[in-house]
Amino acid sequence: MNREINLARMEEGQTGIISRIIGGRTFRLKLESMGIRPGSKVTKVSSLFNRGPVVLHVSGMEVAIGYRMARRILINTQSSERSL
């Protein structure tokens, strides 16, 4: 079953496909320059404390991203795709 949640709320180790990015063109371009765009496969590595940055794996690299930005990235997760 498909479920759309934001990156900040994903669980550690969960994998999904980016479905939407909420924000203006500048914001989208900024994310895109690091390979974060709709269609990219991402795996969440960790959340640092409550409202701290989120670390994720995307297109072969590790990226740390602020909490508020992470909330604007929506992910399609499939319950079957969960891996730890």
Partner: protein, 569 residues
């Protein structure tokens, strides 16, 4: 002929630059080590060619100041060398495809080639070259592998022809290229990868940070003290001092020249700290006291930088750093500032907003003592007991935090959020670490020693002209009345503008109480940056913000000095 080295941050452009030109530049394993471009020359078929190390950028639509520098330089180049981290091919392709459409002769370099094998990545180089329409060279810049074929290939670089792409076409093309040239063999996670994940999780990260920072601290102290005890002290006491004594006798033990070169004899003997002559104290302070700590600090810093740990520390501290108006990445300039404030201030260019840069620069110059200052504090305050060294550092850390909290509330604007690439861990290469250490030591000797000598000369001059005595009287109400220091301490504060190590050294003959010594060290650390730091800060911030920063420094140091004086048990 201008050759541009262009690529994502942290793909090894600076190492490649050093390989091609022989010019040593600082390179590390984190994005943003190069904040301005570096130029150099190398021989290309007997002709002199210019080569430029461009700051790393992720795309040609810049999002930060450092990236803008990179993009603006493209038109100047005659040949593009697009440097790619071979272990992260997919990551580099957007920029590569954009560069291919600039209609300039181009070569693609797959750097860090040796690591693809360990990572189970296989790249079909010929196919990649065919798809991109330009030659592809594989290199290991750190060992020099492949550099020769790169140089041979340069004059033959073709101008690629590709039709313009829309954004979605670009991503589609990247997907196709990856499908055709790259195969990744699935394998189990290595120990390093497990450690990578562990050290970026909250609990594991805290544990790793604690271990890394305490080991670093103890090794720096151990090496620094070891160097002093085993090498520098015997060298000065047994080797240099007898020479000075002979020279002092030859000069007759007094007189103008003796005063300037050797200084005052303390109980008939030369005292390396108190005599205050050019070739006694002027040589001993930078070489005998400060250099051992500069050596040990930069050795450890080099290892930390090349391991790739620092961006992880930055991510871990991000939430806390936001409280003081910065984001996590500001910890990197701050750590550089512990060695010397100058590179620390320059490194604040990796921060995006002006507000952040102002806060970071001010905090570094006030609350982060440089290696020279550390060495002097360990040396002079350490003699009175570890307790007092701890007080000095606790106060400075509290000042750094409190000022940050205040500036966060008082400075206009907002702090952008953290958004950084975290490099993989790499085992630092010993020879590379030593080379970097040597570069930093050279620049310390070249830049610090002359100013120390100038400082000592300046002190002797102003003493004999009576200017210090005048200043001491003038500032007595603040220095004596508020902070409880002897009037002459104002002299040390003035000299602190030239060099902080000389200034702390000047405190030695005043016979200060423990309380006074602690206050004097804290105030000296906070009071005003040394001249070298002042000059770069002025350049980076401009007059207006520099004035603001200076006002904050003065107010903060007098307040804190007074507070310690009042609260001392």
């Amino acid at each position: 002929m201008k050759v541009l080295l262009i690529g994502n941050p942290n793909v090894g452009k600076s190492v490649l630059f050093t390989r091609l030109t022989g010019i040593q530049v600082i390179a590390s394993n984190y994005p943003g080590t190069t904040v301005t471009f570096k130029k150099g020359f190398f021989k290309l078929h007997g002709e002199k060619a210019e080569i430029i190390d461009v700051p790393g950028t992720y795309s040609l639509t810049p999002t930060s100041e450092a990236e803008e520098v990179a993009v603006n330089m493209l038109d100047e180049g005659d040949i593009f060398v697009c440097v790619i981290d071979a272990t992260r091919l997919e990551r580099s392709l957007p920029l590569t495809l954009q560069l291919l459409r600039r209609k300039k002769p181009m070569i693609v370099v797959l750097n860090i080639w040796d690591e693809t094998r360990h990572k189970g990545i296989h790249i079909d180089v010929e196919k990649l070259s065919e798809l991109l329409g330009v030659p592809v060279v594989t290199t290991v810049a750190i060992t020099g592998e492949g550099i020769r074929s790169l140089v041979e290939m340069l004059p033959k670089a073709p101008v690629p022809y590709h039709e313009a792409l829309t954004e979605s076409q670009q991503w589609q093309e990247i997907g196709e290229i990856i499908n055709q040239v790259q195969t990744v063999i699935h394998r189990h996670h290595t120990f390093i990868e497990k450690l990578q994940d562990f050290s970026i999780k909250p609990s594991g990260g805290m544990l790793v940070a604690l271990v890394v920072l305490s080991i670093s601290f103890f090794v720096i102290r151990f090496l620094g003290e070891g160097l002093i005890g085993l090498l520098f002290e015997p060298l000065f006491e047994k080797g240099y001092k007898p020479l000075l004594i002979t020279f002092s006798r030859y000069l007759g033990g007094e007189g103008m020249l003796h005063e300037i070169l050797i200084g005052n004899l303390i109980n008939g003997e030369i005292d390396f700290i108190q005599s205050f002559g050019l070739i006694s104290t002027g040589i001993f302070v930078p070489i005998g006291m400060v250099l051992p700590y500069v050596l040990s600090f930069y050795f450890i810093l080099g290892i930390l930088e090349d391991s790739g740990y620092l961006p992880r520390l930055a991510t871990l501290l991000d939430l806390f750093m936001h409280q003081i108006g910065l984001h996590g990445y500001a910890i990197i300039p701050t750590i550089l500032g512990i060695g010397c404030n100058v590179p620390g201030i320059l490194a604040t260019r990796i921060l995006e907003s002006r507000r952040e840069r102002f806060i970071a620069c001010t905090l570094i110059s006030i609350g982060v003592p440089c290696a020279s200052l550390h060495a002097m504090i360990f040396g002079l305050v350490g003699e009175r007991g570890v307790k007092y060294v701890l007080i000095v550092y606790t106060v400075l850390i509290l000042v750094w935090i409190c000022l940050g909290l205040i500036m966060n509330l008082a400075t206009k604007g907002f702090t952008p959020e953290l958004f950084i690439e975290i490099p993989p861990y790499r085992v630092p290469v010993f020879t590379v670490v030593i080379k970097k250490l040597w570069m930093r030591i050279k620049s310390f000797l070249k830049e610090a020693v002359p100013i120390v000598l100038l400082g000592v000369l300046f002190v002797n001059l102003l003493y004999s002209l009576g200017i210090f005595q005048f200043l001491a009287k003038l500032f007595a109400p603040v220095v004596n009345g508020l902070m409880g220091l002897p009037d002459e301490a104002v002299i040390a504060l003035v000299v602190g503008f030239l060099r902080k190590d000389v200034a702390v050294g000047m405190l030695a003959p005043f016979n200060l109480t423990n309380q006074q010594l602690v206050i004097a060290c804290v105030v000296l650390a906070m009071f005003f940056p040394c001249i070298a730091t002042f000059v770069v800060m002025l350049k980076e911030l401009g007059w207006k913000d520099m004035l603001k920063a200076s006002a904050i420094m003065l107010a903060a140091s007098v307040t804190v000095g007074t507070l310690i004086n009042l609260l001392w048990p």
